[in-house]
């Protein structure tokens, strides 16, 4: 419908994180990878700390550690030094060089530098790519999909088999969007494979950031999709992208290899889950497994149980664009009033939503969501929710006020059921709290 912006010069309590953080996240889903941020050391230290805080896992990332004079004179000397050290010390399979606003403004050409570096060092067998992600554009979501796109480009280049490939129609490439948790990605992989498909997720944070003790500590990523599986994914007969932001990488595969693709804007709620399962059923010719039929019943039943709780309730939601779209669709099914929807930045998907969407920050959520009963956003929204007296439901990134948030799934029938119950419980607790305080005040 319409995209609005409240008129104010400064961002007050931002939702946005930088694009480069999204790229670092994407690379955590690849095995033995090292994201290398081409910028000053703070530009890697902050994302590292924030991702660590959210996932409660060590995060692999390095920096070219630019200082003032390096930026002015020769930033690529630092990059070369960093590459030398990372390659000789850790031997990663995948290196992603992430350009920042600093290298962008200074006009540093590291793509060419990387090309000649690869030629000189004869970097075969590994995957090294670069991507331009200044933080004065986009947010986590665009950084994530941008990095995946660059990674896929490099894979296609390296495999070098334009057109001439043996297509495996039983294999599907899953491109999960940045808003999906490791548990979400796991659930999606299970759903797709339940119809008899091999599925390769690129990237796959479900096996890296889900918390496992298999390999101990490593400075590289532990878990995630290995490089040979990534290259193998080029043979897939179909790409499924979840999140509109993942359409571009899917289109890359289509343009270069002819792989057809299907984009699901999300997989949260009854209708979205129906769409996904129906699609899988149709392309596979397999019946929908019984457990999903059960889960569908379970979801509907829990929605019936919970609908008393949601009657007359209003919600304010502040998230990254794709996530906002997905969550809003689920809220629609709960029949709550959607008081305000706030996205971190504008994308076609939020511009195309039937409801009015605001581009803004947590402060906008606070002002526009005044008197809302429920507040859904990352943990930065906690203070604002408290100020307007709304129950706070953490979602998105970063979440630090809840254990195991990264393992909570919202996709599929079961995810929707869990979230419905969670939201209902929060509202119940809030009501109980109100009753309590009115007794005390009497």
């Amino acid at each position: 419908m319409t995209v609005n912006k409240r008129k104010k010069p400064a961002s007050v309590n931002p939702i946005k994180t930088g694009q480069s953080l999204g790229a670092v996240l994407a690379l955590q889903g690849c095995y033995r990878a090292m994201p290398l941020i081409h910028g000053s050391q703070g530009c890697s230290a902050f994302p590292k700390a924030l991702l660590t805080r959210h996932f409660r896992e060590p995060i692999a990332v390095q920096t070219s550690a630019l200082q003032e004079m390096d930026v002015i004179f020769d930033a690529n000397r630092n990059l070369e030094e960093a590459l030398n050290i990372v390659l000789s010390k850790h031997r990663p399979d995948i290196i992603g060089i992430i350009g920042t606003e600093l290298t962008d403004v200074a006009g540093v050409d590291y793509a060419t530098m990387l090309k000649s570096y690869k030629r000189e060092r004869n970097l075969r067998g590994g995957l090294a790519f670069s991507v331009v992600l200044p933080d004065f554009r986009g947010s986590l979501e665009s950084g994530f999909s941008g990095a995946v796109e660059a990674m896929i480009d490099e894979m296609i280049q390296q495999a070098g088999h334009r057109g001439s490939r043996t297509v495996n129609t039983r294999q599907i490439t899953l491109l999960p969007g940045s808003f999906l948790t490791p548990a979400d990605v796991m659930e999606l992989k299970e759903m797709i494979s339940a119809f008899g498909f091999e599925v390769i997720a690129v990237p796959d944070i479900s096996t890296s950031l889900s918390g496992h003790l298999l390999t101990g500590f490593s400075p590289l990523t532990r878990g995630g999709v290995p490089l040979d599986s990534m290259l193998q994914s080029l043979q897939s007969g179909l790409t499924i992208a979840v999140g509109a932001s993942m359409e571009r990488p899917a289109r890359r595969l289509h343009n270069a290899l002819g792989t057809p693709y299907k984009v699901f804007s999300g997989a949260m709620g009854l209708k979205a889950s129906d769409d996904l399962l129906h699609f899988l059923h149709q392309i596979s010719g397999e019946p929908v497994p019984l457990r999903y039929c059960w889960q569908r019943e379970n979801l509907l039943d829990s929605m019936l149980d919970a609908h008393f709780q949601f009657a007359g309730m209003s919600v304010v939601t502040a998230l990254e664009p794709d996530h906002l779209h997905s969550v809003s669709g689920w809220l629609e099914e709960l029949g709550v009033e959607q008081k305000a929807l706030i996205a971190s930045y504008e994308t076609p998907v939020v511009a195309g939503m039937e409801r009015e969407v605001w581009i803004g920050d947590m402060d906008d959520a606070e002002v526009l969501g005044k008197d809302a009963d429920l507040w859904i956003s990352n943990s930065h929204g906690m203070a604002g929710a408290a100020r307007i007296g709304a129950a706070f439901m953490p979602a998105g990134f970063p979440v630090w006020n809840e254990l195991g948030a990264y393992m909570s799934a919202s996709v599929g029938y079961r995810g929707a059921m869990d979230w419905t119950n969670k939201a209902g419980n929060l509202l119940m607790q809030r009501e109980a709290g109100h009753r309590e305080s009115s007794i005390r005040h009497r």
């Binding site: 010069p9 994180t17 050391q41 660590t52 805080r53 010390k89 403004v105 004065f136 500590f217 400075p219």
Partner: protein, 453 residues
């Protein structure tokens, strides 16, 4: 222990006030860890709780960092708001000064803060924004202090940022106000950021000894109190090399004597309290301090007894970097914990000297090299526990090593006598948790023994 004036600081150290004769070590590309100067400046200034803190730059510097620190407030919370000019493409091309000016006006108009701190970041520094001029103009027009903090990330480390923040306080804040006539004058605490509420424990102690805090620079501080910091009688620099310069400058400008101390461990706490009374030159106060510290120490000794029994002979690897290393070592020693490895990555020569004074000969120094290097020491020295910053917490978890968080994101206060008791408890809980045994066990079906039918 006689209170003595310590004066032999290593003034060449990175982060100190005097001109650098030795440049800060350059962070190594490909293996650098740690934050930027902007981060450092915010660590020092964000604990001024009632001020607004506006970050001038593209979103990431503020967006990735706001609400990430463990500094607590007892009242106003404006400093917990994340303000950013959030520059976009065209702002970068045409300049962001107009947006900065409007942002300052907006914040002043809507939140009416006593002061606004404005931080430059790499990009705004690179494109040559004249922040000082914008701040000056806005401040004059609005009638509130608008203070530029020129500490963009790429000038150096966090330590340097702490120092640059101190410079901003000296240049724009300290000496611009006066306390109420009746206010008792006492001590400025410099470099104590009220992480997890440590400042409150310290203040309580000082108050029971009759010593008042004049300005908190800056834990749980209010802007006004820093304006009259020049009226204090003593400056204490709490575990902060980077703000030594501030204390030194205040000594030469206002004649305020200073000392360097810590509140980690009973001994250091007692020393610090005594030193305050001594420098205030107040016999009566010294006697009060003596009585208080004796009472507190003997009570603490009682309380600690059961924990000491458990902790005695336990081995720890400590990796905090910088000044905190030596002060935490003292605390651990008092608990009977042996420090078998200690990080010296950000320590100056003087820090290392002090570390050497406190640890045994066979303690390993870990210069740098990140997590892998720390783990190596833990393994080789068969350490029982790792004590480090949040960054390394999950490194330890992946290796199933008990861990205590000691840095600025932590949630436990370890300062003073109470704090030492808390540390003893935390160490004990951590070591005794059943998870270490469980995590090391394998699933029954993974065991070799065949099923016995």
């Amino acid at each position: 222990m006689d209170p003595v004036r310590k004066v032999d600081f290593d003034s060449e150290a990175c982060g100190s006030q005097t001109p650098k004769s030795k440049p800060c070590p350059r962070p190594k590309p490909g293996e650098a860890a740690g934050g930027c100067s902007f981060d450092g400046a915010q660590i020092t200034l964000l604990p001024i709780m009632d001020a607004a803190h506006l970050v001038h730059g593209p979103i990431a510097c503020a967006g990735n960092s706001w609400e990430s620190r463990g500094t607590l407030s007892s009242g106003p919370s404006l400093s917990q708001y994340g303000f950013a000019t959030d520059l976009n493409d065209s702002d970068i091309i045409f300049g962001g000064e107009k947006k900065l000016k409007e942002s300052i006006d907006y914040i002043a108009g809507r939140f009416a803060p006593p002061a606004i701190f404005v931080y430059s970041t790499c990009v705004t520094a690179l494109i040559g924004e004249d922040m000082d001029a914008v701040c000056k103009e806005a401040g004059d027009r609005l009638g509130i202090p608008v203070i530029p903090v020129n500490s963009p990330g790429f000038v150096g480390s966090k330590n340097l940022g702490n120092r640059l923040a101190g410079d901003a306080l000296l240049q724009y804040v300290i000496g611009t106000g006066e306390p109420e006539p009746e206010t008792p004058l006492g001590v400025n605490l410099i470099g104590e950021y009220n992480i997890a509420g440590e400042m409150w424990d310290i203040e309580k102690l000082m108050n029971s000894a009759g010593i008042s805090v004049t300005s908190r620079i800056t834990g749980d501080a209010r802007y006004q109190e820093i304006t009259w910091a020049h009226r204090a009688r003593v400056n204490m620099v709490v575990c902060s090399r980077a703000l030594l310069g501030l204390a030194r400058e205040m000594e030469s400008r206002y004649g305020i004597p200073f000392f360097e101390g810590s509140f980690y461990g009973a001994k250091e706490t007692t020393y610090s309290l005594r030193q305050m009374a001594y420098l205030m030159n107040d016999r009566e106060m010294e006697r009060r301090v003596d009585r208080l510290t004796e009472r507190e120490e003997s009570r603490l000794a009682q309380d600690l007894r059961p924990y000491r029994k458990i902790l005695k002979g336990k081995k720890a690897v400590l990796y905090t970097g910088g000044v905190k290393s030596w002060s935490v070592i003292s605390a651990l020693k008092e608990l009977g914990v042996q420090v078998v490895g200690v990080g010296t990555n950000k320590s100056t020569e003087d820090d290392v000297r002090r570390i050497a004074d406190r640890v045994g000969d066979d303690t390993e120094y870990i210069p740098e090299g990140g997590a892998s290097r720390i783990l190596k020491t833990v393994r080789e020295r068969k350490a029982d526990i790792m004590i480090a910053g949040g960054r390394n917490m999950y490194v330890a978890m992946k290796e199933q090593i008990p861990f205590i968080d000691i840095n600025q994101e932590r949630h436990k206060a370890y300062a003073g006598y109470e704090g030492l008791l808390r540390l003893a408890k935390e160490l004990t809980y951590s070591l005794a948790n059943p998870i270490w045994k469980l995590a090391a066990s394998s699933a029954p079906w993974d065991k070799e023994v065949p099923y016995d039918r």
